[in-house]
Symmetry: C2
Subunit: 399 residues, 2 copies
């Protein structure tokens, strides 16, 4: 049976930014079908019904109760993930939930428990650790050709803080700032490459713009149970753009203007107040007046999350938007990744293997709880001024 004859039937909670970013994937990948949705914006519901012919509901619970829904895709704001994942599981639905999984370890634990009791699957994503070059680097490491991983170095300078935001996205207590939103990507990548089990975290975070009072930058040192260590730095106030080191390819795998960060700040100057800023963001999302469907033609590069270097005993791996550059005792060579025909198809790959092939998810509940634990430790280390020892870490599952 071809995948399209039995697509995974998704019910969507939240048609906002996360959904908008996944939309090209859903539209182009025949392994999934969007059958139902809820969003508080009537325009978004109408657009959903028109675009997908799916049912629109008046509540999240109604989506979860819809008998045609097989998996619930939770794409609501961060602080709603925990409750909605449990709701879905209690209705017997499997769940794909956007990162960050939740804002507390207690919430993560509840989500895992409720899914286990219900016997439902849980995948956390999209995150950039799904990207093909990351998975390719992991395969190269697993080949054993380079010996053990000794050090991972990751850095990313973006305009994150100056993209249009809702007020809660600038409030750490509500899951705002770069630690919840961006470390969730970077830490997941670093864990995936270094083996998963973080022992300790020491981090410094920066709040440099009093008009956007949340963490906009961090730098962290992670130690791993296997002896590796990692350095991860993120600057969401970036005037500089690390995509200049990524062949000029942006996070979404598309060519990026060299002055994109400058243009972001120019646009920010047109913002007059919080409400207008939030409205601009909303109107760019699915169903909004400024919505445009992202290009759906196959990109020639993968999505990425900035420069990442993996130093092994016998070689260094440099992730690029198109694969992995290997530097070892034989010199240097490029190992191309298979650029997915549909952006973020890697998420549907994992969803499909779990839903239709009974495979264990790579980005399951316990794996993703461990990433949340590291993110929380970044904040806690800044507060406490010392190392934070971790307790909920797990190794990469045998996928």
């Amino acid at each position: 049976m071809s995948p399209s004859a039995n697509p995974v039937r998704l019910g969507v909670l939240g048609l906002g930014r996360a959904f908008t970013l996944m939309l090209p994937t859903f539209m182009a990948d025949s392994r999934v079908k969007l059958v139902a949705a809820f969003d508080p914006r009537p325009d978004a519901r109408t657009a959903f019904a028109q675009t997908f012919g799916g049912r629109v509901h008046e509540s999240a619970e109604a989506v979860c109760a819809d008998p045609d829904v097989e998996w619930v895709y939770v794409a609501t704001p961060h602080q709603m993930h925990a409750e909605q994942v449990q709701l879905a599981a209690r209705h017997g639905k499997h769940v794909l939930v956007e990162k960050p999984m939740a804002l507390s370890l207690a919430d993560c634990a509840k989500m895992i428990d409720v899914c286990e009791v219900a016997g439902t699957q849980l995948i956390v994503g999209h995150s950039h650790s799904f990207n093909a070059p990351v998975l390719l680097a992991r395969q190269l490491i697993d080949s054993g050709a380079f010996g053990r991983v000794c050090m991972v170095h990751a850095m990313q300078y973006t305009d994150f803080l100056y993209r249009p935001r809702r007020p809660e996205e600038l409030d750490t207590a509500q899951g705002g700032g770069v630690v919840f939103s961006q470390a969730a990507h970077q830490v997941d990548i670093v864990r995936l490459l270094a083996g998963g089990e973080v022992s300790s975290v020491r981090a410094l975070t920066g709040r440099w713009d009093p008009t956007r009072p949340t963490e906009g930058a961090y730098s962290a040192l992670l130690t791993f149970a296997n002896g590796a260590f990692a350095s991860a730095t993120y600057n969401g106030y970036g005037f500089y753009d690390t995509d200049l080191l990524m062949d000029g390819v942006g996070e979404m795998g598309r060519p990026k203007s060299r002055d994109a960060h400058y243009q972001t700040r120019v646009r920010m100057k047109t913002v007059t107040d919080e409400a207008q800023e939030a409205a601009v963001k909303t109107e760019r999302n699915f169903g909004g007046s400024l919505f445009t469907l992202a290009a759906t033609e196959a990109p020639d590069a993968c999505q990425h999350f900035g420069p990442v270097l993996v130093s092994c005993e016998h070689g260094d791996l440099r992730l690029t938007p198109r694969g992995v550059q290997v530097f070892d005792e034989n010199g240097s060579r490029f190992v191309p990744a298979v650029v997915p025909a549909v952006p973020r198809a890697e998420v549907i790959d994992e969803l499909w293997t779990v839903a239709r092939e009974s495979r264990v998810p790579l980005h399951g509940g316990r794996w993703s709880q461990a990433t949340v634990e590291v993110c929380l430790a970044l904040l806690e280390s800044q507060r406490a001024g010392q190392d934070i020892m971790l307790k909920h870490q797990v190794a990469l599952p045998r996928h």
Copy 2:
């Protein structure tokens, strides 16, 4: 009076690697004259006399006692710096001593004290914090145009551990490994850019090759009294080469082969034992059978120490081998550094202003002791598994 009419008269202790690297500078810069030297290798002494017409002595003390010597340039192995600086000062000589200043804070303190009592000047260098783009970035920061420094990010991947070494260079207790030899550069640069006064250090160090049993890599987080923080990573086992991010210009300011690190490892395979390896190194130095004078024509780029990013409130500064790329609210622009006509002329600039213009050294004893304190804290933080608080830090002197 032109500088060449009254050059600073240097007596040299040690005609080895450090001297060999400074040789093109000494030969081309008329502000200095080499008048005396001591090295245990007779061939080196003979070459010195032939090349410079200077006096060769049979001991370090004899150089220090030579009435024609005005400044003593201490370029011996790390572990000899402390004693020889004191020897020079007790003979009333000013001192230029190679980095690292010494291997312990107690030794640094003695050196400072003895020089103060003797009324002699003390400059520590060359280090790469003398490089013109570093000093240019500092000037740009001091202009106030970018607000305060919030974060510095520095990284450097080299073949350090696989260049020919003497056994002591692979023994941390004798000042070997990348912390003493290379953090001395990187930490000095980071301090110079972030303001100088480090409050705390958390670092992880790597010893990944049991055949070269010293620190070959580290990653560190530094906090500063002014609220800035920094991340510094060094990998001396690098298969990868961060000079690929520096316009293909090597540390010495010259074009560098893309496969230089591979070639280093190929050469290392021809090494049969410690003694042969040390001999190879010695023979490449001044007076040795494999010595060749480095190119003296003016390079078209400055010396550098890998990618360095300074994030200020109102702009990011990216150091390049030819200047500073500025990214700010007006977009991006390049501010060229004045590439010195003689490599490392910046060291002679500082020497000259101190010796002939009564200026305070930028890289004086207390400044450099503070850099040694940070380097020692890198090692101590790895041992203790926690932050190390610092006590001997000083701000950048008003130069």
